[in-house]
Subunit: 82 residues, 2 copies
């Protein structure tokens, strides 16, 4: 079994409306020093597999087919045996 | 200036509907080995401050007042000078 952690981030050039909203909210609450807020996704899951290469390939496929939007987002995959 | 990374995770006992949806989606797409999917948030921002303790305190306050739901979520804060 493998534990997979995927960090999905929008590309830096692409606006992050959720981050902008948090930035405004922070300012309204009196936090004047906060800037460049980005909100990304951290996805964790388990793969039932005995072979690391197969698990890696499956995780990569899942990322491109379901978890990420390849047009706007980049992802980073970490895999570890459990 | 400090760069802050906050990882916000639902407590393990609390159901993650978004993760469950991804799990079902993965199964429908033919990924049979994926389980225990959890989708969490990764928040990054910059604090304009010269004092690490002050920056740390401000980040912590922002987390409890705006970024996290203390009833259902735990957060982890990493701060580094830039």
């Amino acid at each position: 079994m493998y534990h997979v952690t995927v960090t999905v981030k929008r590309r830096p050039v692409i606006l992050d409306p959720q981050g902008k909203a948090v930035e405004q909210g922070a300012r309204l609450l009196g936090f004047k020093n906060i800037s460049n807020v980005r909100i990304d996704r951290l996805i964790e899951f388990t793969i039932q597999s005995e072979d690391q290469d197969a698990a890696n390939e499956e995780a990569r496929q899942l990322c491109t087919k379901l978890l990420t939007n390849p047009i706007m987002e980049d992802y980073e995959l970490k895999i570890s045996k459990i």
